[in-house]
Symmetry: C2
Subunit: 150 residues, 2 copies
DNA sequence: GCCGACTGTTGGCAGCACCAACGAATTCGT
DNA sequence: ACGAATTCGTTGGTGCTGCCAACAGTCGGC
């Protein structure tokens, strides 16, 4: 070993809040992905939305999850293929598909809920409960500020 | 207008710290990307590393920026094509390329520094300076925790 | 001198976030 | 009532970021 210079990130990057934010998000996202196993975040988001909204159109689900219509299609294709969700044309508005969670879908969602909660613990384990709350609050305010501006 | 149901995200997602983190990061990242204009974050990171490390190998730059060797190659290809960086074989170790910032590169970096700083202001504008410091500290601790575990 | 490790390079993949266009269906404006 | 504008699902792309595998050339330790 030739006495590595420690390879510290450049000063400008180390002090850059946006970088800290995106890199930490990437680390946590990686943990989440591992926790979700065979599912993607899109799958979990849509199942959660379907469970809470009840029968809803794809557009409604997409809007609730903040995802693009085309990505909703792809994710629902996966979920229907696994029998976790049913897509049926809405008789009241034939443009729409009514999406509902199947029994298997509900079971899968509960399972994922557990896995996701477990990951939250590990992801933010360096912080006390109070600190986690502070972090969530600060992030929520930043998030909201940028979301409000459409 | 037909009284939109507000399309609030599902409860489970709204309360999910990891989601808050990743979505906020995405919002901020978008601002950064706009601020960087014709450059990517990789470009800025590498130029910053090159400026602070002085003449260095691609491997050293990549390690400093936490990016993959292959991505370093691609980004440096862009930067050399724009004349912002020079790649020369290291006579002391012919495996390596010595990378240095050109005059144009330094000027471009200064310009980007300014743009990036301006973006930080806008990105975290809902927070007071104290709160920004708290946020940075919390993120840094989470970040460090996951980084230490290799 | 050999073998293992490192370097740059190529080429690939996955996830997430987008965007454009299209046909079918519905709603709005008048 | 009827044409225009809008909505919905779908298809098929794009870009950025973060990876990984393989390979040839080079170097270091033994």
């Amino acid at each position: 070993m030739t006495a590595r210079p420690a390879a510290q990130p450049p000063e400008r990057l180390r002090r850059l809040p946006s970088r800290l934010l995106t890199r930490t998000a990437a680390q946590v996202q990686r943990l989440v992905a591992e926790g979700l196993g065979e599912y993607r975040t899109h799958h979990y988001a849509l199942m959660a939305a379907a469970a809470e909204l009840g029968p809803a159109s794809q557009a409604a689900l997409g809007q609730a999850c903040g995802m693009d219509r085309s990505d909703v299609v792809a994710a629902l294709d996966d979920l229907t293929a696994r029998g976790l969700v049913r897509r049926a044309p809405d008789p009241a508005d034939r443009r729409r598909n009514t999406v509902v969670l199947t029994g298997d879908g509900e079971r899968a969602l509960h399972e994922l809920d557990a896995r996701v909660q477990e990951v939250q613990q590990r992801a933010f384990s360096p912080l006390t409960p109070d600190e986690r709350a502070v972090l969530a609050d600060l992030l929520a305010r930043v998030n909201r500020h940028h979301a409000e501006a459409e």
